[in-house]
Amino acid sequence: MKAINKSQIEELIQALAAEGQVFVPQELNGNTKYAPWQKGVQVILDKNVLLSPKDILFPQTEAMYSYVADNLNTAITEVAVAAEKQVIFGIKPCDVKSVRLMDLVFLTKGFEDTFYKTKKDNTLLVSVGCAKAEPTCFCTSMDVNPQVEEGADLALIDMGEEYGVEAKTEAGSQLLAKINSLLKDSTGQLIETTGFQIVFDGIEGVPEKLKGMFEHPIWDEICLKCISCGACTYLCPTCHCFDIQTKKIGKEGYSYRCWDSCMFSDYALMAGGHDVRPSKKERVRQRFMHKLRYFPERYNELMCVGCGRCLAKCPVNVDITRIIGQIKEAEVNGG
């Protein structure tokens, strides 16, 4: 197959820059995240970064329309959605799958989200596979291939000293042609990803089993140590709940959408004061039901890609892999 030397990555990114702004995984102020590439930036490819590229296609805060309201005279202006071409380089297969899942949410089932669609249509994904897993990674247990996942346009596969380069889509083929001068032919082999400390099987049975577990006492135990912050949801590459709020200064303002977390105590609070998820139990149950039952029921895919970010950063070590184990072992009264 075609391949590129690992030492040539900077040249590759330079070539990609012709396609639009290139986002690369890098460190900024002590955090690792995707940010615009600049010459000389240290690109992180040997492991995943803390902040997923979710923010590029689905920004944490996104203005939708602005307004001027002067008594009865009101003018509303749509905020133009940025349609600049961009490339996300170095996206890991787990995050590639999460983009695929976000596509299902924002582009299917009869409604297309303009904000997401415009950005997605103008984005190329160039993924880079993993040869070595972090202790918190468990993608293989969630049916994700650590080297390459569907959804990337161009996939780089770790083969040791070089990356195998594969076009996965039409756009990817066009890209491949453009960078051909950087590539060589290779008989190198994909490296079997090693280093997984968390491995389990039988995830397929979980959505089905959860159907009978809504009232199960297991949730009373699992919810106890959660502190209801939003760390898991905000770091999760597939979480996509959002709120719509307004920022106003005097007579002007703008309406925006922003990430929201089902873990927050007021997430399910409604006008009038009724809260359908008044306690941690309902909210924690909701999180895992959504990931492991509701989303699979609706879209036929698990909503967890095994990236391990929640596991790494939850302040109280709420561990989805442990909970999956508990669900599998739980006794459910037949019926």
Binding site: G30, Y234, L235
Partner: protein, 292 residues
């Protein structure tokens, strides 16, 4: 008997006798370098409880506005115990509702970066433990283990003093870069024993103190406001900074205010003396009045 064995025995005793409804302590987490909060309701489950160099989580946050009819058994290090004092002083918990088993603490370890399992003694101390001035529980019903000698940590304000040497613009740039990182997950607020308001100002959307938008201006507002709201009441448990997924140096702000309050109102350590009134919550005729 090791401390772990003593903890398990104590838990069994408290549960069997019906003295408490449940126990909160620590059990092993996902990895060898993690110990995580656990709620034990049955004496048979008391074997889950452990004590090691990774029992870092402060458990006091779980006691905020505990239901009146409940009684909880809690294991407390120095930091946890100060959190409990905070709650009692803020009237978010009644003393009779908790049975406190104090454990003097030699400091918890940070395994960040260590891949291979190693002796905890080989790992560096957690940042908050390096700065800790109250390793021994300040309030307890029973103590397990030997009190720890308290080292002089008056240099723990050094990083604050270093920051004060920067020019205003440099300070602004430093903090802007830090606040830019904030994702407003509110882990800091949720874990803090001083942050125990029934309704946090942040959640009062209609009023408009704070907007839900996540941008630098809102983040600055949040962090400065939270620091001011806990000023004089922060017990220096360090959990906010430790739990922050984005590694924002929150304690630098809190320690800055502790330093200032010490200077303005006299040396004061919040959460140590149950009877002491918080300096910003009382008035003395000799209070400094720079602004009058």
């Amino acid at each position: 008997m090791s401390i772990t064995e003593k903890i398990q025995a104590k838990a069994k005793e408290l549960l069997d006798s019906g003295t408490v409804n449940y126990i909160i302590g620590w059990e092993k987490g996902t990895f060898w370098h993690q110990s995580t909060p656990v709620f034990v309701k049955k004496a048979a489950d008391a074997d889950k409880l452990i004590w090691d160099e990774f029992c870092i989580n402060s458990l006091s946050t779980y006691l905020i506005r505990l239901d009146d009819e409940l009684k909880v058994g809690l294991f407390v290090k120095g930091c946890d115990s100060k959190g409990i004092v905070r709650l009692i002083q803020d009237k978010q918990l009644k003393r009779e509702q908790v049975v406190l088993i104090g454990i003097p603490c030699n400091g918890m370890r940070n395994a960040k970066g260590a891949v291979e399992k190693t002796e905890p003694a080989n790992l560096p101390l957690e940042q908050k433990c390096i700065e800790c001035v109250h390793p021994n529980p300040v309030i307890y019903d029973e103590l397990i283990g030997e009190p720890v000698v308290i080292a002089d940590k008056s240099d723990r304000f050094n990083d604050v003093l270093e920051l004060e040497k920067l020019s205003p613009n440099e300070k602004y740039q430093y903090w802007a870069a830090q606040f830019e990182k904030c994702i407003r997950c509110y882990a800091c607020r949720n874990t803090c024993p001083a942050c125990n308001c029934k309704e946090c100002y942040v959640d009062q959307y209609r009023v408009g103190w704070q907007n839900k938008a996540v941008d630098l201006a809102e983040n600055q507002m949040f962090h400065v406001t939270r620091a001011m709201h806990v000023a004089g009441r922060c017990v220096e448990c360090g959990e906010c900074q430790r739990q922050c997924p984005m590694d924002i140096p929150i304690m630098q702000m809190n320690r800055k205010l502790i330093m200032e309050i010490n200077e303005l109102f006299g040396e004061y350590a919040a959460g140590v003396d149950l009877e002491a009134k918080p300096p910003l919550g009382q008035f003395k005729t000799d209070d400094p009045e720079e602004f009058m």
